[in-house]
């Protein structure tokens, strides 16, 4: 297997209906209008020498290496900045050109170190390649003149032009002595990433790339890596390449962090990953990445990785390493014993959004066919279950309506309860690009997130609502649309259920839903709400993007339906550039839902009580299946505390850290008699486990992930599982030990079964994924290559269904004891419970959870920046450091839950969404005080980090 190299056309591929035909070196070529001469030549396979051009960036025309001759034109124009025209006759080689190019290269090389043999880019350097391509044989200027190369001048004095390396970023190094000032990095940071962290300081010979104000780590840089990819030399280089040398082979796989689902080339030496480089042909990311996928994969080989199966009788016993056979047969016999004693319903499983579709499918199959109940749930319960319910009710399908690319056609973007620059960075870059092109922006969020204002981005309206009032705000937007006559009447008449529409319109038009009336709840000035509604309804293509700030509320499902109402009423569903799009948290949260992880649904969202569906599964699986839906995670824990639920198989989840009201969760876990954990680390939940089955990281897996745009991407194994077994194999063996036979030779065969059983996946196979790269479901006979846009001519459910969405304030209220509202979220460099990112260098950006608090609230409590403060709710209390921040509004505080030791979920309550029981993470009434000690829970937890994690014959520090 070789290193995968995408073709670099030098300038971006243009889309145009018009084509032009020209002749290059005597060959005729036809390209879309707007294509550069350089890209036209490359489409014939002719590489014109170049340094400052690369096809991820707009042409710049600074290096003058790409000169060509064009008949009828004077001089030698740069081919990267010259558009191809009809009838043009181009020559890319001549004596004259060759002389000019040599001259250019000579100048570059005279101010460049000649240490090619020991350079980290050796083997992958465009400067070296170009010197070769133009046939550079001598450098007449000599190397002794003014230069940026040597720290000292010939006479031993310090060279003022020389700059030391910047090694502040933990993942890459900037070595200014090798810079050719081609500007690619600066443009990548602007055009691709949209952060504008880099500039060229100085002019002429003095010009240097600068990450202001100090160094890379101290700058705005978010470590996305775009500049490193763009750099043609060793100036910006991954530290791993500096350390190990160039990779020799690669495989395309999918990032295992967020729901964007970026494609990467895992570039390897043997079975060692050297670097992850975003893959240009990956449809979700088109060659871009964020710090997590690009750099934060070192956890896969972290010393905390657990690779041996272990068991113990009680959670206070030390773990005992055992063989796979012993661990699996022990788990199976425990489940059998429990079911015999407490009944069939007393055990269940939780599937993981971080595992592949195939692995998830097998776990839910094990529950339904081997446990013979439907007690299976997934962590989507605690994030996007309201999306499933709300979109299915209104539109007929439990997923987002668009592909990511669609945002490039949006005219008005409405972001609600999402923080894309932190949560979904690569998609945020696309969105920012569109906004720089002129799309308008409305942000509804309690905090002033980066999208509200950052370089070259400014929201037209920021609606800083009080946490918990989403429905009131959306109804107010709907009120304006209805009462000001902004309905897209022909769309509604043609595509929606009219009775339901009229019912909704009457409801939303009521005075109590007006912006003026709801201001008392939302705190958002009515005039802004009116203006935002008008903009969304009349500004062209309106696209809604939302996140957990919508779903994780008592009225999460209501909010999703309210957004669907608004989009239908304004005709904003069913074409490019519009839609309602959940930004899904975890890499495979869409997939785990699709795969039948919910207790009431088989794969493809079909209710277990539906006889005809169930019969198909019964026939394929050869056992009778339970027609009664099973328990949700929250119900499992309630029943565990209640004493009726006794055994749980947890696949790659950490509910003791991620789920709300930690004390309730751990009480439930502690009450169980057999908890089986399949994970790569001894996580928080494993403290309560009796069987530990070591899992595999995404680098060790074959399978598929489905991202937030319903795109099924392949995950490819680049190294063997450290535990010696594939995770899906372990599930099969557990099922067998429980007396239910499953047999598959390869995950591809599991996908074949999924396709046979699931109409929306009927056309999916590994063969097809190999050919097409990826497909978006539904993929079946009607749509053999998948479905980028949904609901195009009609809604999946038939007529769009408007729902009445009355605002009902959550029971979680502030009062004298708990006067502030806590809302929770995440940040760019850490991911979810942090189990992976905490075990990488990403701690350089965020090494603890802090409490963001408005200066006003801080001052009235005598809190200064950096103080240890106690954060208390009716559920519990913890201590953490305060960070005073104007991003907050007074009365609202914010924290993340990336660090287990903080225990942010000790604070959150067990209130949940009315329809799906998705927990209300986003609203908790709290009080904040200065303190000088950690909370009781934290002290106990520190202690249990050791006592509940002992492994026999190992020193206690082997775990976290």
């Amino acid at each position: 297997m070789a290193l995968i190299k995408e073709i670099d056309y030098g300038t971006p591929i243009r889309l145009s209906e018009k084509t032009v035909t020209l002749s290059i070196d005597g060959q005729s070529v036809t390209v879309p209008a707007g294509t550069s001469v350089m890209a036209a030549a490359m489409s014939l396979g002719t590489k014109i020498p170049k340094l400052c051009a690369t096809d991820s960036l707009e042409p710049f025309g600074s290096c003058r290496l790409c000169l060509v001759e064009i008949e009828g034109r004077r001089g030698t124009p740069a081919s990267c900045t010259t558009p191809a025209e009809d009838g043009m006759v181009v020559r890319t080689q001549s004596e004259n050109l060759s002389g000019l190019r040599k001259g250019v290269m000579e100048l570059y090389i005279s101010d460049h170190p000649l240490d090619c043999l020991t350079c980290s880019a050796n083997g992958d350097c465009e400067l070296q390649d170009m010197a070769g391509a133009v046939g550079l044989r001598e450098v007449r200027y000599g190397y002794e003149g003014e230069n940026h190369v040597f720290a000292k001048t010939a006479d031993g004095l310090a060279n003022e032009n020389w700059l030391a390396k910047d090694t502040s970023n933990p993942y890459f190094t900037y070595d200014p002595s090798k810079c050719i000032v081609c500007n690619r990095c600066v443009r990548a940071c602007e055009e691709v990433q949209g952060t504008f962290a880099l500039t060229i300081a100085g002019r002429g010979f003095d010009s240097r790339v600068a990450a202001g104000p100090t160094d890379f780590l101290g700058s705005e840089c978010v470590s996305c890596g775009a500049c490193v990819q763009a750099c043609p030399t060793a100036t910006l280089m991954e530290n791993k390449v500096i350390e190990h040398g160039q990779p020799e082979h690669s495989k395309v796989t999918t990032c295992a962090y967020c729901g964007v689902g970026c494609s990467f080339k895992a570039e390897m030496q043997g079975d060692r990953v050297i670097r992850m480089v975003p893959y240009k042909d990956g449809k979700a990311n088109e060659g871009h990445s964020c710090v997590k996928g690009r750099f934060a994969w070192g956890y896969a080989n972290h010393r905390d990785r657990m690779t041996k199966p272990m068991i113990r009788a009680r959670i206070t016993d030390p773990w005992r390493e055992v063989s796979w056979e012993e661990a699996i047969s022990h788990a199976a016999s425990e489940f059998k014993r429990i079911q015999a004693r407490y009944g069939r319903e007393s055990v269940g499983a939780i599937t993981s959004s971080r595992c592949t579709n195939e692995e998830v499918f097998l776990v839910q199959k094990l529950v339904r066919a081997a446990f013979r109940n439907n007690n299976v749930d997934t962590c989507a319960r605690v994030c996007h279950s309201p999306t499933g319910y709300g979109l299915k009710t209104t539109l007929g399908t439990s997923a987002g309506t668009q592909d990511f690319k669609s945002v490039a056609k949006a005219d008005v973007i409405l972001i609600i309860g999402a923080n894309p620059t932190d949560g979904h960075p690569v998609f945020a870059s696309r969105m920012k690009k569109r906004i720089r092109e002129g799309a308008r922006l409305i942000v509804a969020d309690p905090r002033r997130i980066d999208m509200v204002k950052s370089p070259h981005i400014k929201a037209d309206y920021h609606l800083p609502l009080r946490p918990g009032t989403n429905v009131a705000l959306l109804n107010a937007l709907g009120h304006v649309v209805v009462t000001e006559g902004l309905i897209d009447e022909s769309y509604v008449r043609e595509r929606c259920d009219l009775d339901a529409f009229e019912q909704w319109a009457r409801f939303v038009a009521r005075e109590e839903n007006s912006p003026e009336a709801s201001e008392q709840y939302t705190g958002v000035p009515a005039a802004d709400v009116r203006a935002a509604a008008r903009l969304y309804a009349t500004g062209g293509n309106g696209a809604i993007y939302y996140g957990l700030g919508v779903t994780e509320h008592s009225q999460g499902s209501t909010t999703v339906m309210a957004m669907a109402n608004l989009a239908m009423a304004t005709g904003n569903i069913g074409r490019d550039g519009v839609g309602i799009n959940p930004l899904r948290g975890q890499n495979n949260v869409q997939g785990s839902c699709d795969m039948g992880s919910f207790p009431h649904e088989f794969s493809g969202y079909r209710h277990v009580a539906d006889d005809s569906t169930r019969q198909v599964f019964e026939m394929m699986w050869g056992v009778p299946l339970d027609p009664e839906q099973g328990l949700r995670i929250t119900n499992m824990l309630d029943e565990a505390v209640d004493g009726t639920f006794k055994g749980l198989y947890v696949q790659g989840e950490d509910i003791a850290q991620s789920d709300p009201n930690t004390k309730h969760v751990t009480a439930g876990l502690a009450a169980m008699e057999c908890v089986v954990i399949q994970d790569i680390f001894l996580n928080e939940t494993a403290k309560y486990a009796h069987v530990f089955l070591p899992g595999a990281s995404f680098l060790e897996k074959d399978g598929t992930f489905t991202n937030a745009e319903r795109r099924i991407n392949r995950v490819r194994q680049v190294m063997a599982p450290l535990s010696g077994k594939d995770e899906w194999q372990v599930t099969i063996e557990l099922a067998r030990a429980l007396g239910y036979e499953m047999s598959y030779a390869h995950p591809g065969e599991i996908m074949d079964e999924i396709a046979r059983l699931t109409p929306s996946f009927a056309g999916v196979s590994y063969d097809k994924l190999e050919k097409l790269g990826s497909v978006q479901w539904p993929c079946n006979e009607k749509a053999p290559t998948g479905t980028p846009l949904m609901h195009v001519d009609r809604f999946v459910r038939g007529k769009g269904q408007f729902m009445i969405t009355e605002f009902i304030a959550t029971d979680e209220r502030t009062g004298p004891r708990f006067p502030l509202l806590l809302t929770t979220g995440r940040i760019l460099s850490q991911y979810n419970v942090g189990a992976q990112t905490r075990r990488t260098e990403n701690g350089a950006w965020h090494d603890e959870d802090v409490l963001e608090i408005h200066p006003f609230d801080a001052e009235s409590r005598g809190i200064r920046d950096g103080d240890l403060v106690s954060l208390a709710s009716r559920s519990g209390d913890i201590a953490l450091r305060a960070e005073i921040s104007e991003r907050m509004q007074p009365g609202v505080v914010y924290t993340t839950f990336h660090h287990a030791k903080t225990g942010a979920n000790v604070i959150t309550t067990d209130y949940s969404d009315w329809a799906t029981n998705c927990p209300e993470y986003k609203v908790t009434a709290v009080e904040v005080r200065r303190t000088n000690h950690y909370s009781q829970w934290q002290e106990k937890n520190f202690e249990e980090d050791v006592t509940l994690r002992r492994i026999a014959e190992r020193l206690p520090d082997a775990a976290e």
Binding site: Y342, P627, E628, Q629, N635, I804
Partner: protein
Amino acid sequence: MTEAALTTADAGSAGDDRKAEHLAKLARMAGQIADFFKAYPDAEAVPAVADHINQFWTGGMRDAFIDAYSARPEDLPPLLRRALPLIRPARGS
């Protein structure tokens, strides 16, 4: 096995407390569901509430709820009270 059958084994007041807490939770959840549908006319709301519970609650949860409130429906908010007879007991119980 139903909820009721199991919890009787848990004699003593700790068990009763847990059971009461569990029921209170179910009642709260049912109340939230009714709150959503109460914006609709009764003819739609009553079956919608029952249907939601029938679709998403386990048989055990439904039985526990029916057992507890059939005897004292007046403890439930009006819409829930009217939906109670439409809530299906667990299959086979």
